[in-house]
């Protein structure tokens, strides 16, 4: 199985974790295509998401870990296992690539001619999207099977942004969907769909981190399933219905947080389906 990784930054923990986890399972990527470390839109997004202090701290631990502990070097503690290597952790994609011997190519835009040419050269069976630009059809068509994405909600119920928060607010079970990407927002065929247990999650950030880590495992399972031919994609029902959600305002997030506290106590949450 030839796999390409698409990343928003060489320092993306999720990108590193996906590449490392797949390689650990024997699916060494044929290459990783990443946006530059200083991509403006990624930086602005992270500043908005984490705030200045956390963003600077993240940059510091990735660029100059110094005496920081392993735990401090990984922002998402649930990815620690996937990122662990020897006595340390992978701090960026190039370190993963060096160990498992695959190329990392930086491009200004994942839809650029250069990116398209590189992907065509790698001729992947499947690409895994862990962040970056909104991909154009030309890019989506390059991998033989398609481009996979891990979406942090059950599809088709909740599409778009802030999906765990919207799941809580709308009374939809928390979940993760692994799906092929198409020209719509989270409208592509679904490969895996699992409900997710919120038990033990202290905050929305904690929930999101846990779900991201779970999504990495599910992506690995999906790749293995595709390789063995044990999973197949199913087109989404009522694709035309507009179920897209957008970035949630913090006042609604505060209500979602209250719901999270209730959900995590509920024995009903967390059933898994495959």
């Amino acid at each position: 199985m030839r796999i390409a990784i698409l990343c928003s930054s060489p320092y993306s923990e999720t990108g590193c974790a996906v590449a490392a986890r797949l390689a650990q399972l024997g699916y060494v990527p044929v290459g990783a295509l990443t946006l530059p470390s200083w991509d403006r839109s990624t930086l602005l997004r992270k500043l908005g998401q984490w705030g200045l202090h956390d963003s600077l701290q993240y940059a510091a631990t990735k660029l100059a870990p110094g005496k920081s502990t392993l735990r401090e070097q990984v922002r998402n503690p649930y990815l620690e296992r996937a990122l662990q290597h020897g006595a340390g952790v992978f701090r960026n994609l190039r370190e993963v690539a060096r160990v498992y011997n695959f190329p990392v190519v930086t491009c200004g835009d994942q839809n650029s001619e250069r990116a398209v040419a590189q992907l065509k050269h790698w001729s992947p069976d499947v690409a895994i999207f862990t962040g970056g630009n909104i991909l154009r059809d030309e890019v989506l068509r390059i991998p033989r099977l398609g481009v996979l994405n891990s979406h942090l909600a059950l599809l088709p119920e909740i599409r778009g942004m802030s999906s765990p928060e919207w799941s809580l607010l709308c009374g939809i079970p928390l979940g993760i969907s692994i799906h092929f990407m198409d020209s719509g927002i989270d409208t592509g065929p679904i490969l895996l769909r699992r409900e997710f247990a919120a038990a033990g999650c202290e905050s929305l950030a904690d929930l999101r981190n846990k779900m991201i880590a779970h999504g990495v495992e599910l992506l690995a399972q999906a790749v293995a399933g595709l390789d063995r031919g044990t999973v197949s994609a199913i087109p989404q029902a009522d694709r035309e219905r507009d179920r897209q959600f957008f970035v949630m305002h913090e006042r609604l997030k505060a209500v979602a947080t209250r719901y999270l506290k209730e959900v995590r106590l509920s024995p009903a949450a967390g059933r898994c389906h495959e």
Partner: protein, 435 residues
Amino acid sequence: MNSPQSSSSGNFETNKAVRVLTEAAGLLRRPQRAISLVSKLASDGLRTTFEHRHLYSYATATVPTADALRSVIDWILHAQRPDGGIAAYYSLLTGYSDPYPEVTGYIIPTLYDSCRLTGGEAARHAAERATHWLLSLQMPSGAFPGGLHDSSSAQPSVFNTGQILQGLVRARAETGTAEIMERAMAAGNWLAAMQQANGSWSGPAAYQGVAHTYYSMVSWALAQLADASKDPRHAAAADRNINWVLSHVKPSGWIDGINLRGHPAYLHFIAYVIQGVLECGILRRRDDAIQTAAKPAWVLLRKFETHKRLLGTYEADFRGGLPFTCLTGNAQMSCVWLRLFEVTGDLRYLNAALKLNEMLKQLLPLKGRRGVVGGVAGSDPIWRAYQPMRFISWGAKFLADALMLEQRLMREFEEQSEAKCEIKPEIKPEASECA
């Protein structure tokens, strides 16, 4: 609102040139205004040069809603002239304008709402003075004049009469005064009499002499009057006009027939069409009108969420327009989304309105002279096409409405969610078919 200038003038360009010269001369009369002018031009210039929107724009609360609301209501109170009329605008060049009957009318519900919310008697007193002034302007036919109060050739205006009618209906409900009801009935009867057989309003009492779909705001006023008067003629007139407006809906959600000569379809007018249809639909219990209003409202919501802003103007079918912000139109869309949340329960409307209000609050001047602090500029940046160099009273009215609606709906929503948590909801995992 229509242009405060004479609505029947055929010489639009000449009027515009005269206006520019008059405003420029205003700065010569009061050179000290140059400080506010330069300061606003510089701050808008800097912001538009360096500010870049990103995915999380406006998702964080930066200005408390109550503070912003207080500041906007204070701006409205300061804009009230000694005779009781509210100025149309505060110009950075010429200062406060003459009072404007149309805005004075439909700002009355805003003042009463503010009084209810904060208990501030100043707003109630202002509403009563505004009502008194308006009653003194009513024509024997029941109509109200268009244009600013000092217009030498004031003509009866359908749109302005409709907008003022909103204020009269509310003033009557608040005070129980029989005379106000009689005057409101006279205005409603005049509107019904002036209506064309197809449900539109055109002719000399219509802006530029032609029919406009944004007169759905007049239908809303008639529907309010019908609720109060129980007179079927007013309800029928409102329904007829809404039927006419609904016949202009295109598959894209765009509602044709804004029909303004000499200037583009500003978001303000597009939002008028939607708001009038929606509110009339709610009052008349017409699902067809609510659904029709929801369609363009959703198109604009998607545009706001995707691009982090709404354009100042749109061409037919929302195909593009001028890249500036019409703040009044934004405040109106916030009102529309909040009402759609109230009607449909779809939280995406509430979410978008919260973010839009964040943007509007951030653009509210909190420092400066009277007329500037708490004022809503016509355009952002202030020198762009819609009411340049002015803080406009109808912008303040719609922002105050949006902030008060936000406060009420968020309070209700938070109370409901607390109650829901208290009874420990069980989020049921539905049987989820997986691949």
